[in-house]
């Protein structure tokens, strides 16, 4: 049996591990554009100079040797041909497979504003290669403009602050981290970044950007006419699933590759996991999908059920935040807030069920909130301050000594 995995992110790596655990003799080949296995969540540490390439590797020591996985790196897949059971690479090679996993992730989306897509000093921050290019360009740059104040935009800023750059961040919405945080929690991070020297321009969009003779953009004009000088631009405006190489393959795609509950695509023996599916953009879910797809490639019938993806943790300047579920207030919500000098906690409850939790400053022991929210557990009968609810109120020990949740 020959298993081919496209992509060396967490979905691909977890799939390969699972396959090896289930099939001791099969041939496993991973193919990636990336030349180093790396955690995308730690690219800011590379930009800051805190870690080198090896320091971003999330796999165990001697991973490829121990699991007997072949790895073709630095090559791109150009076509997938399900009828021939073969894929084509940009080096002209053709590779056959018995089972194929599409785990090629996603690409940074650069919006078609002015000449952003044409300029040589505009980067996304998604791959180690982006971070490497940003570090190089940053050597020549004084002013950095970051478009978007989500986690990726702030990661970029956090890393570049270590290099002493003057940073401006433009955000369309009137607060930073608009997907994750309310105004209060966002202000706390904004203040920390401002103290470190970052300037925010909120509620504004980039409207014009023209390349100069050197092929670079040196100023961006905003929708209020303000001009922002820049030598390096980082666009953190979201990602799009990397499905270009599937064109003509007949594999059904929507925003990402369409999969069933078992992570099978519309074509036989082809599975997909991770960001390429568009099911979720976060690490734990991609890891889980990789494991499930890997098991199913070995003949299993596991289902991807733990689909909940509205969850995140944030840590900048030692200020830690956890947010799960809905953040924006809706009609009929009961909102409770607890605040002191070291923490801010905000919970949204509706019909006895927790809809969303935001914890800033202290996220100790907060894992139970995700369970309560995603499983819509009714907490109205628990006679406690809501912020004191914990696993004691649901405590159950299974026969093997593990905890469990009541089903």
């Amino acid at each position: 049996m020959k298993y081919v995995i496209i992509g060396a992110g967490v979905a691909g790596v977890e799939a390969a591990k699972t396959i090896r655990q289930k099939d001791n003799t099969g041939e496993i080949l991973m193919i990636s554009k990336d030349t180093d296995v790396h955690s995308r969540c730690m690219l800011h540490k590379f930009i800051a100079g805190e870690r080198d390439e090896q320091g971003l590797d999330f796999t165990e020591k001697d991973f490829f040797e121990n699991y007997r996985i072949d790895w073709k790196k630095g090559v791109q897949v150009t076509a997938v041909c399900p009828d021939e059971k073969e894929i084509a690479l940009d080096n002209g090679e053709k590779i056959s497979y018995d089972k194929l996993l599409l785990a090629g992730g996603a690409d940074s989306f650069i919006p078609p504003v002015g000449e952003l897509r044409k300029a040589s000093n505009v980067y996304g921050l998604r791959n180690l290669s982006d971070a490497q290019a940003i570090v190089k360009e940053a050597d020549l740059a004084e002013n950095v403009l970051i478009i978007g104040s989500g986690l990726v935009g702030l990661d970029a800023a956090y890393g570049l602050l270590e290099r002493g750059k003057k940073i401006t961040i433009v955000e369309m919405v009137d607060r930073i981290l608009p997907v994750q945080l309310d105004k209060y929690a966002a202000n706390a991070y904004q203040a920390l970044f401002e103290k470190a020297g970052v300037r925010f321009v909120l509620g504004r969009k980039a409207s014009e950007a023209v390349c100069e003779a050197d092929g670079k953009i040196h100023k961006v004009t905003l929708d209020n006419g303000e001009e922002i000088p820049c030598d390096l631009l980082i666009v953190a405006a979201g990602v799009r699933s990397s499905i270009a190489c599937l064109e003509g393959s007949g594999i059904e795609c929507d925003r990402g590759v369409t999969v069933d509950n078992c992570l099978k695509t519309s074509k036989a023996d082809i599975y997909a996991a991770g960001d390429i599916t568009g099911l979720s953009g976060i690490w734990p879910n991609a890891a889980n999908q990789g494991k499930i797809a890997g098991a199913n490639m070995c003949g299993g019938t596991e289902e991807y059920n733990d689909t909940y993806a509205i969850k995140n943790t944030i840590n900048f300047f030692g200020l830690v935040t956890l947010c799960v579920g809905r953040i924006l207030e809706e009609e009929g919500d009961q909102i409770q807030i607890k605040e002191d000098k070291s923490q801010y906690k905000r919970v949204i409850v509706k019909d006895g069920k927790v809809q969303g939790i935001l914890l800033q400053g202290d996220i100790s022991h907060a894992g139970t909130w995700q369970y309560l929210i995603k499983n819509k557990i009714d907490i109205s009968s628990i006679q406690k301050n809501i912020f004191d609810i914990n696993y004691a109120d649901f405590y159950q020990v299974a026969e093997n000594g593990e905890y469990q949740w009541m089903s």
């Binding site: 730690m42 165990e60 734990p284 840590n315 894992g367 995700q370 405590y395 593990e402």
Partner: protein
């Protein structure tokens, strides 16, 4: 797979917190005995907790070193891994990226960031460096926690 787990008989727990003190002592950075352990020093954090439910029943919360550990699944740096030999989930703070997705992903709320630096996770290590029996188990006067092969 067979592994050693700290089994909990919560009805025997009388909430004395000897286990928490023993854990703090086992993981303190300074030398000394439990008699000079500074209980208010935030560097000395316990990996276990005794919770109380709404009815006043004590419910010991200890890392289960789960068969399918959700903390490991969420770890984006490779700092957390389930040791294939012992079955225990170990944490390497030198690899940790301090993202705390493990805190969010533990379904039982066992994990927390360290209080002082907010860069590490406070996680049970089964007292592997203290040789053999976990300190919490050795300290329990009620045998409410004990190690068992499961």
């Amino acid at each position: 797979m067979h592994m050693k787990r700290i089994v909990i008989d919560y009805q025997k727990c009388d909430g004395c917190k000897s286990c928490s003190i023993a854990c703090m002592q086992a993981h303190r950075e300074t030398q000394g005995t439990v008699y000079d352990l500074d209980l208010t020093d935030p560097h000395n954090e316990s990996r276990n907790r005794i919770l109380k439910d709404a009815d006043g029943q004590y419910k010991p919360l200890f890392c289960r070193h789960c068969d399918d550990p959700k903390c490991v699944e969420s770890c984006m740096s490779g700092a957390l891994h389930k040791d294939p030999k012992s079955g225990h989930v170990f944490y390497d703070e030198t690899r940790c990226g301090s993202c705390f997705m493990c805190v969010m992903n533990c379904p039982y709320g066992v994990l927390k960031p360290d209080t002082v630096s907010k860069t590490k996770v406070i996680k049970c290590d089964f007292c592997v460096n203290a040789g053999g029996e976990p300190s919490c188990v050795a300290s329990c006067p009620k045998q409410a926690i004990y190690v068992e092969e499961v």
